[in-house]
């Protein structure tokens, strides 16, 4: 049996546990020690006692042969049991065992009386909760520099951002503090940090994962998803995370799916095993390959596409003409919904309350301005503005119309291809201490990811290279975008890519040079 390390994927760890090479408590303890020594500021809360208690029950469950009915080994590509495997949760998911802050001062010390459905499902599957992960405050940001509890550092290059808003989730996995973590994606917040940390992440079709217990940022865009080391890991995690939840009125009623089932098979049935992607048409949107894309990212993406072609795929040019419009549309819709979703944070029933308020208005104003960071305040103001009387039609409704056009662009593109591929972000991770620029610059960097959320499509990030020169230690991710409900195909393509390449196996300790 291969030796396991803190950088092993879930499949390997599952094999080690079932083969009794290590016990759950031992495994958990290894990660707890690494977490305690963390220099990336990925974690906001841990509860070793609770984690070890979960580890003990998981071990009992493994011992009594009562896994969740899935094969206990990671031998074949048919999935593995999640019993006993460690997981960390983005601090956007409410949990009973740890405080939930949404990385905001306004929720400091908040203790939820219930668990998010996603957390509950992974716990039922036997996973051991390891703690809450740092992120951009209320998931608003692309670099995890907007947390009230300090920025997260990229374990590949501690001077660089890990990406955001699920920066803590990505950094923890990339740094070997966890084998996997949950994240949320409203405009790219799973895909972009996964890309910048050399990890695999997937955002499912809107409505697949329940939003019950996921602190709302933009309700019509938010989705939960896993960040892990491989496509197979993501497939198994995703299968456990998603599913209809009657407590979420936007949850989709679909039969449950095993995304790992058949993941190693070729996309178009039997054929040459060396060409598993034969018959697959990859759409390359010309707008994703234009001026804004940095050279080093372009190179890595083009190399990845060449790899996919060598596996049998064909490419076809497609157009997504409203790509650049998707940015202002997103930055109207998301802040609008957020401004309303965040109104409940008023210091009355929970959270930060200002000291000695002289009246009600004072209570609201000071609690909120003390509790919310600058980026959150900015977005609330934008959101309030675009919903206000006289502007609502010109901004909010107009943005919703553009949204439909963006979705139609994807529909049209998918008539001539099966999957869309391209970059996740225009550049590699930038420096944490980069001079403060116009927030607009940050917003523009979301250009390739936002449209996916507007249209509600599933999308993945798969590691495919590194930057050049000074950026040798800054990973690059390939984005795969699928039609609604075609997560399985995305994961399959990613899996085959990962069988043919080893980007996903690189770790910061090994370095990136190649």
């Amino acid at each position: 049996m291969a030796a396991i390390s803190p950088f092993s994927d879930l499949a390997s760890l599952a094999k080690a546990l079932s083969g009794k090479a290590i016990s759950v408590p031992e495994l958990v303890q290894i990660f707890l020690s690494r977490i305690a020594a963390d220099t990336t500021n990925s974690f906001l809360a841990t509860n070793p006692e609770a984690s070890l208690a979960m580890a003990a029950s998981a071990q009992k469950r493994l011992d009594s042969g009562n896994s969740d009915g899935r094969p206990a080994t990671g031998n074949g590509p048919q999935g593995f049991s999640l019993v006993g495997l460690p997981i960390g949760h983005k601090d956007i998911f409410v949990t009973r065992d740890w405080p939930t802050t949404a990385a905001s001062k306004i929720l400091k010390d908040y203790r939820s009386p219930f668990d998010a459905t996603v957390v509950e499902r992974l716990e039922l599957a036997g996973m051991v909760g390891m703690g809450k992960l740092n992120c951009d405050e209320f998931a608003m940001g692309s670099g995890n520099t907007h947390s009230a509890f300090g920025p997260v550092r990229n374990p590949w290059d501690l001077q660089a951002i890990p990406g955001g808003s699920s920066g803590g989730s990505a950094a923890a996995v990339a740094g070997g503090l966890l084998p996997a973590a949950t994240g949320t994606d409203t405009g790219g917040s799973i895909r972009q940090p996964a890309a910048m940390c050399g990890l695999t992440g997937i955002k499912p079709t809107y409505g697949r994962a329940s939003r019950w217990g996921m602190i709302a940022y933009a309700s019509s865009l938010d989705q939960a998803g896993p960040i892990a080391r491989t496509a197979l890991d993501c497939a198994v995690l995703l299968s456990a995370m998603v599913g209809f939840d009657e407590k979420d009125s936007t949850s989709l009623e679909r039969p449950s799916e095993d995304f790992a089932n058949g993941i190693s098979e070729p996309v178009r049935g039997a054929g040459d095993p060396r060409l598993p992607l034969k018959g697959l048409r990859l759409g390359l949107p010309r707008e994703f390959f234009s001026d804004g894309l940095s050279t080093e990212v372009r190179q890595a993406i083009e190399a990845a596409i060449a790899e996919l072609k060598s596996l049998g795929a064909e490419t076809v040019d497609v157009g997504l003409p409203r790509t650049s419009l998707s940015i202002p549309a997103y930055y109207v819709i998301a802040p609008a919904e957020a401004s309303s979703n965040l109104s409940r944070f008023d210091g009355v029933r929970y959270g930060h309350r200002t000291a000695g308020p002289k009246d009600l208005e004072d209570l609201y104003c000071r609690s909120r301005s003390e509790g919310f960071g600058k980026e959150v305040q900015r977005r609330i103001l934008i959101g309030t503005f675009v919903l206000s009387h006289g502007y609502y039609d010109a901004y909010y409704i107009q943005a919703q119309r553009v949204r439909r056009l963006v979705a139609q662009d994807f529909d049209a593109a998918f008539r001539s291809c099966d999957l869309i591929v391209g970059p996740v972000a225009p550049t590699v991770a930038w420096a944490i201490d980069a001079p403060i620029k116009d927030p607009l610059q940050d917003y523009l960097a979301d250009i390739y990811t936002l449209g996916v959320n507007l249209a509600g499509l599933p999308a993945m990030s798969v590691p495919c290279g590194f930057g050049n020169g000074d950026h040798k230690q800054r990973p690059i991710g390939l984005q795969l975008i699928g039609r609604k409900f075609e997560e399985k195909q995305l994961l399959k393509v990613a899996h085959h890519f990962q069988r043919a390449t080893d980007w996903h196996q690189r770790t910061p300790t090994m370095g990136a040079s190649e």
Partner: protein, 484 residues
């Protein structure tokens, strides 16, 4: 200057569901503070709303009862504002596309029937309660927030501004109140806040077409207060304008002790609620099938019953509308008519008169009446056929109410209350009374009507009330004009 009052009413009707509109917490009244506030009602981070089917069914019933259009697809919108009894910082309501559109409610006025048009009715959630004083343990200078009521389903019913007097407004409010209890969507309990009215009041010179500036008087929970509040507010506005001032559009509260309205201190009037469709709730679709099913399960509506009573039983609009004011009353009344052929007008008088006061006296619902419909029908039959007079009838009623007798006949028999039919006996009483009361006779002959009443009274006394007063008075007239 002659003034006209223009009134539109908004009613907030709490729907009779077991659980709240968006959460499974109970809606029962009177629980200890915050024990019926689900985490959804408390707006804890991460919660989401899920719609109560029965609340929608109530809205459909209402739409059918007022002959309105029921929207095949309607949207829930967020009404954003900050207030401590509004946990989410927004109320989930309906804005551009409500579930019920149009419709009308019929009221009875001095000039006959009038149809009051409705603009719309929509579903929304109730807010919690702020308590400012009178609670032991509430620190000085604090208000306490109880979220038990937060999330209770409401149907907000908006009338067109077509009422022109406080009386009309009260008639409308009462008709609406009895309609929503009739169809079972509301328990109608005014004290518990199940039915609350906001009145939009404005004035304009008679003949002016444009509306004056209106003020909204909120949260009136009694018909008496509604009437008074409208009256004082109209006077206030008229006085203000006549003094050279202008009416500011604002929200006001009625102070029943001082009998005046005063402006609320909140800045609600300058509010932009920034309505937008709630992204947590997809559109509500109501199929024609569902509407048809609800329609088939609805009882006969008060309007229809009222028309029937007028057409087939000859009741006046007023009497008919009194009978249909409550479903239980209408039920009782129908049973009276059904148990035996009965004079409907008499039946209406008895139900709204003697029966009603007996019920009120003992604080009973008509469903708890100690005289059953068939017993009352039996009594009315005996009055109609002359066995007893109306006055003796009341004694019979009292006997039945006390439970001493099973039927009117039994009571009449046992107490010997039969009206005297024997005209010879009556004639003897009349002669005796005329002989014994010469002064009265003189006064009557002199033209004093009152004297006749006195004479009749004497005969009634002599007969222990068992004579027929009409017969007596005819006989006296006959005797006296014959110059005996």
């Amino acid at each position: 200057m002659s003034w006209e009052i223009v009134l539109g009413l908004e009613a907030h009707v709490q729907l009779r569901t077991q659980s709240k509109i968006f959460s499974p917490a109970s809606t029962a009244f009177g629980a200890a503070p915050n024990t019926q506030a689900h985490m959804i009602d408390m707006a804890l981070p991460g919660v989401l709303p899920v719609m109560n089917r029965e609340a929608v069914a109530c809205a459909i019933r209402f739409g059918l009862a007022v002959d309105a259009t029921i929207a095949g697809s309607s949207i829930f919108a967020r009404k954003n504002y900050f207030y401590p009894d509004l946990p989410k910082g927004y109320q989930i309501s309906q804005y551009e596309i409500p579930v019920v559109q149009g419709g009308a409610v019929t009221i009875v006025t001095d000039q006959g029937l009038k149809s009051i048009a409705l603009t719309r009715a929509h579903l929304e959630e109730d807010a919690g309660k702020s308590i400012h004083e009178g609670v032991e343990g509430l620190p000085q200078g604090c208000s306490g927030i109880d979220l038990n009521r937060a999330g209770t389903p409401l149907l907000e019913i908006v009338s067109e501004p077509v009422m022109r007097s406080a009386k009309e407004a009260v008639a409308y409010a009462k008709a609406l109140h009895s309609l929503v209890t009739w169809i079972g969507i509301c328990d109608g309990n005014l004290q518990e806040g199940s039915f609350r009215i906001d009145a939009n009041v404005s004035v304009r010179p008679v003949g002016q077409v444009a509306f004056g500036t209106r003020c909204e008087i909120k949260n009136l929970n009694s018909f008496r207060f509604l009437e008074k509040a409208i009256e004082v507010e109209a006077l206030r506005q008229i006085a203000l304008i006549e003094d050279g001032g202008t009416v500011t559009q604002e929200t006001r509260l009625f102070d029943p002790d001082r009998e005046e309205t005063r402006a609320m201190r909140s800045k609600e009037d300058a509010q932009d609620y920034r309505y937008f469709p709630d992204p947590d709730l997809p559109p509500l679709v109501i199929s024609q099938d569902w509407i048809d099913r609800v329609r088939s399960e609805m009882p006969e509506l008060p309007n229809m019953l009222r028309e029937r009573l007028v057409k087939h039983y000859g009741l006046s609009d007023y009497d008919a509308s009194m009978v249909v004011a409550s479903r239980d009353t209408a039920q009782y009344f129908s049973e009276v008519l059904a148990s035996q052929a009965t004079d409907a007008k008499l039946a209406a008088n008895w139900v709204m008169g003697e029966l009603a006061s007996s019920l009120n006296r003992e604080d009973l619902d008509i469903s708890e009446s100690k005289v059953s419909p068939s017993q009352l029908a039996g009594l009315i039959a005996r009055i109609t056929d002359g066995t007893v007079s109306n006055k003796i009838g009341r004694d019979v009623f009292a006997a039945l109410w006390s439970g001493a007798f099973e039927s009117a006949d039994a009571a009449i028999e046992a107490r010997g209350l039969k009206q005297i039919q024997d005209s010879g006996l009556i004639a003897r009483f009349v002669d005796d009374v005329i002989a014994a009361n010469p002064t009265m006779v003189e006064e009557f002959k002199a033209g004093k009507e009152k004297a006749m009443n006195a004479l009749v009274g004497q005969v009634m006394k002599k007969s222990q009330g068992k004579a027929n007063p009409q017969q007596v008075s005819d006989l006296i007239k006959e005797r006296l004009s014959a110059g005996v």
